[in-house]
Symmetry: C2
Subunit: 397 residues, 2 copies
């Protein structure tokens, strides 16, 4: 039995093993990027599901179109147009969760050795999807304004044109894991750079709707006069991840190419999830749902930041995101969050060590804390436990 090169290279990570027990009920987990079950609009989902099965079972249960359920593509186009994008139904393909969008883009563009530009840190699901197609990575530091544009420009100047650089991966709002949002001015500079260097941007925007303060920013896609932006969205954060429903927006000819690649991949996205997403948007439930979950998560973020303020030693730093589900913690330079995790798991608190978000082994002193899933009490108690381990470790060094 001889695996492919890609399968040989992708191993179970030690981290996965370490975090295997993080979902045990006695452990307070800031690790998983789970939404709160309180945010799930169960009754509306139930109502829509019953209605779809009553009126439309022959469609819901049958084989579906690879591009997606046509009425869903239509309402998605309307939704995006209302957010300042110029989206027609033909610019939309429904995917089996945004993760599949990442994989389809990689599959469509990457040969082994091609370059992908991404942030350091960045979303590990992106790293996983891209790695399946054996690229090399150029990792650009991410700070409070997202990817450092000046460093990116330097790097682009020095990069060779063969093997080619195919795309840059960015999470524009409340990035997973750093919580950073790219300001409008930097969005423009990033777009100008990809035009100058003839690249594409894969703009992965799951958190835009979860903004707790400040003004919503238009996606980079809104600047896209040269058809260089693939815009990736999901229903996982606004509706429910279990449905596996997301979408991509791109020029029509690229959507057709994605559809051909998706056909061999899984034929089409499950139709119950698509019908639920459709019923949700068509019935105008989406805006009230977003208005309902914002205070829920805003409160959790506030409690998290207050707990950190109250418990963590002064030499520890963390980000204060305007939205999303994460804060990014940086410990003093002599500390290693991967090493600390074992002790934290013994103290029954979990997080994801920063190294998981780097392709180049960086981030040793950092950790991501997710606050979406945990209860108020757990936030307080979990941060207290973390703090105890950090202070103990700080003293022994």
């Amino acid at each position: 039995m001889q695996f492919s090169n890609r399968a040989e290279k992708i191993k179970t990570s030690a981290l996965r093993e370490l975090l295997r027990n993080a979902d045990r009920p006695d452990i307070i987990s800031f690790a998983g990027a789970f939404p709160s079950p309180k945010a799930f609009p169960v009754d509306i989902i139930k109502e829509i599901t019953i209605d779809a099965l009553d009126k439309n079972a022959a469609n819901v249960l049958q084989y579906g179109s690879t591009e997606g359920y046509p009425p869903l593509r239509e309402v998605i186009a309307e939704y995006s147009s209302s957010k300042g994008l110029n989206t027609q139904k033909e610019n939309v393909i429904v995917v089996s969760g945004a993760q599949q969008g990442l994989e389809l883009v990689a599959k469509t563009f990457l040969d082994p050795g091609d370059t992908v530009i991404l942030g350091a840190p960045t979303y590990p699901g992106g790293i996983m999807a891209f790695k399946l197609f054996e690229p090399r990575f150029e990792a650009i530091p991410v700070k409070e304004n997202g990817i450092k544009v000046d460093l990116l420009e330097d790097r682009l100047k020095r990069m060779k044109s063969t093997p080619p650089t195919k795309f840059m991966y960015v999470v524009p709002n409340f990035q997973n894991p750093s919580g950073a949002t790219i300001p409008t001015r930097n969005r423009k500079m990033l777009y100008d750079l990809v035009c100058e260097y003839d690249l594409l941007i894969l703009e992965d925007d799951p958190y835009a709707e979860l903004r707790y303060e400040g003004k919503s920013l238009k996606p980079i896609k809104a600047l896209d006069t040269e058809d260089r932006v693939i815009y990736l969205k999901t229903f996982s954060k606004t509706l429910a991840p279990g449905l596996r429903a997301g979408w991509m927006e791109a020029p029509e000819d690229l959507i057709e190419k994605f559809a051909i690649m998706k056909q061999g991949t899984d034929l089409f996205a499950n139709l119950l999830g698509q019908h639920i997403a459709y019923g949700f948007m068509k019935g105008k439930f989406i805006e009230p749902q977003i208005r309902k979950i914002i205070p829920l998560y805003k409160d959790k973020r506030n409690r998290m930041l207050e707990a950190l303020d109250g418990s963590f030693p002064a030499e520890v730093k963390w980000t204060k995101p305007e939205g999303g589900l994460f804060t990014w913690v940086t410990l003093p330079s002599h500390m290693d969050t991967t090493e600390l995790l074992g002790e934290c798991m013994e103290q029954k608190v979990a997080y994801v060590p920063g190294s998981a978000f780097y392709v180049d082994g960086g981030g040793l002193t950092t950790m991501r804390l997710s606050f979406g899933y945990v209860s108020d009490k757990q936030i307080e108690e979990g941060v207290r436990r973390l703090s105890t381990v950090i202070m103990k470790s700080s003293q022994t060094k």
Copy 2:
């Protein structure tokens, strides 16, 4: 914008264009491999869905395990064990439809240039999935007993060992498109050959349950003393394709590798589909459901064979499958079913030309007729229309 090699090579087929209108209501389509909507157990699905959302919404709507919903893996293992396999929960991974299983196997094993052995004809979804990973194909003729074992053995003797041959793809029961079933004796010979030549078998078995006469045969997997068989199953034919729920059975270490590959691909399969499949198996609805749909499809098959007997000229041949959803028609050698399709579409009847099922341009005189989706009247009228076109074409040559 520069695509990957795989994306460059995979084009929209002329066939896809030709069949684009096959789902128009005025066209009688024997083209799609759709199950009958009458076969969908809508009421049970509705009941299970409501129950899952009432009692288990926090699980159904949340992120799920990449290997699949654990209780579903458990009941699948029980189901397969009852069919003569030695399956534990750890040998099962749930996939987003069997199509994803094909893709995951290809992704896990194929580097560009590696060899895949498959039938001629074979299921085009397999061809599509494998092509994404740029293999070369060795196509072995399929006759009434499936892949010709003697020809396979000859070919194996002559094949070089580099680049390596990774697996053989077979559909053991009522193959799509030929309707052929591999007899027990040939299953044993195929298995002995893959052992001798150190290969794997990807055994894709969506139709086993749809047997209308004769004795059920154990899958090749039941012979698998050397851990060489990956067994692929789907709920699409017994339950509903819209759910996108299927599974693979393999040795535990291979299941773990598939899970790593699936994680980057789409994280996990949608949970409503998984909970419905679970409720269906746990509630013992699966055997009654199979008993219900067998007479439905058997009757359609009988009507199809009778209509062909009554209308088609003597020089046309077709298979008489003991199960499944297809009959495979061979026209006289001067006729080309791709050429005929245009005229047939004008006469408002559609089928899939045989060439779609070959990797090497064969099958020009053949066509696949699906009888699962069409009504009794449509079978009669569709075959009459086909017959008229064939006879007219026969006279003009």
